[in-house]
């Protein structure tokens, strides 16, 4: 079944799956190569060229999972990503409600200003961020990275949630107020369940952009809160690097993303349109 008139392309219909399949194969090839490399020994990677590991080994993964300087990177990343997602959603929910339900002084300009922060290149902010968080003594803490990532995640969360909230009829709000619900009670008991998919999608996006960002996270951390991606760059620049361990570390960063996508797969199409279709 595809987006075609069944009668028109009855004879071509059987071939349409080729396009997505070829595209997915293209997407999977580099990942396949990374996966295979992570199962090879460094010696095999450098000496022979083979499509699959001759001597299958899990040593690379064991190296990472038994060395705290490696695996603490994953824990650090997870901590600030979760913190960022919680903070972003907590502040974005009321704001999105305000944007979707009311007009107020300067609302459109405020909305645009929020979006410009999503569009500002992180490179511009790197240096002042370092100074700012130093002044507050927050360098090398998880909360610093979480707050810095709010710069682009909060506007995005407001944008997505506003889209979802606008599709909930206003009559629901009015009926609830007539029934004597106070605003906080209405918001938590009635409204939030109604836009649960939207919250899920917004959380997904916050997770995604915080998880994949490197430049700011690397600048604001030294050792205690250093994310896994920054630990990897350090290894890349070191001489005589171990390709197998690098590949295994990369593979381990792909897994959380894959899990998250799997959980939101049913809402993903709507979420990518930011609730605006």
């Amino acid at each position: 079944m595809s987006f075609v008139l069944n009668t028109h392309v009855g004879q071509r219909r059987s071939k349409r799956w080729i396009v997505p399949v070829v595209y997915i194969v293209f997407l999977m090839l580099p990942l396949y190569w990374l996966l295979m490399m992570s199962f090879k020994t460094n010696q095999e990677i450098l000496s022979t060229f083979s499509l699959w590991p001759r001597e299958f080994t899990l040593q690379n993964y064991i190296t990472i999972l038994s060395d705290s300087s490696w695996y603490s990177g994953y824990i650090n990343s997870m901590i600030y990503v979760v913190m960022n997602t919680v903070i972003s959603l907590a502040v974005a929910l009321p704001a999105a409600y305000a944007f979707s339900r009311y007009r107020f002084l300067g609302d459109k300009h405020l909305f645009f200003w929020l979006l410009t922060n999503r569009m500002a290149p992180p490179a511009v902010f790197v240096l002042p961020f370092f100074q700012l968080y130093s002044a507050f003594g927050l360098i090398d803490t998880h909360i610093a990275v979480a707050l810095a990532h709010c710069l682009f995640n909060v506007p995005l969360a407001v944008w997505i949630l506003e889209g979802f909230m606008s599709s909930v009829p206003r009559e629901i709000d009015e009926t609830a107020y007539i029934d004597g619900y106070s605003f906080p009670r209405f918001f938590t008991k009635i409204f939030t369940p109604l836009i649960a998919p939207g919250i899920g999608v917004a959380a997904f996006f916050c997770f995604m952009f915080s998880w994949v960002e490197l430049l700011i996270a690397r600048t604001l951390t030294v050792t205690d809160a250093k994310p896994i991606s920054a630990i990897m760059t350090r290894t890349v620049s070191a001489s005589g690097l171990d390709w197998g361990v690098l590949a295994a570390a990369g593979m381990l960063t792909v897994i959380p993303g894959a899990l998250v996508i799997y959980f939101v797969r049913n809402h993903i199409a709507k979420g990518f349109a930011l609730g605006r279709v």
């Binding site: 300067g106 459109k108 300009h109 507050f136």
Partner: protein, 93 residues
């Protein structure tokens, strides 16, 4: 708290004070006559006063940059051009 890393100077402080005053006066103006006089100008989309102020400021930034790159460092003339540009924006856009 130590703020010396922000490296304030009088000219930049003045610059931000002017921007802040502009925004505040827009709020006051909006308070006195709400609605923002929406209309369709020569750019063929609806603008309010806030939009016109934004177009003015953004355009002024580029006028100043162009002046700096093409003419010279004396930006007072560029500011004069910006003032004319701003008036035109508020009349026609």
């Amino acid at each position: 708290m130590d703020l010396s890393w922000m490296a304030w100077t009088t000219p930049t402080a003045t610059f931000f004070a002017v921007i802040l005053c502009l925004i505040l006066s827009m709020c006051v103006w909006e308070w006195i006559s709400p609605g923002g006089q929406p209309r369709r100008g020569i750019l063929r989309f609806e603008t309010t006063r806030g939009d016109r102020l934004f177009v003015t400021l953004l355009g002024s930034a580029f006028i100043n940059l162009a002046w700096l790159g093409l003419v010279g460092t004396n930006l007072w003339w560029a500011l004069a051009v910006c003032a004319v540009y701003g008036i035109l924006v508020f009349i026609f856009v």
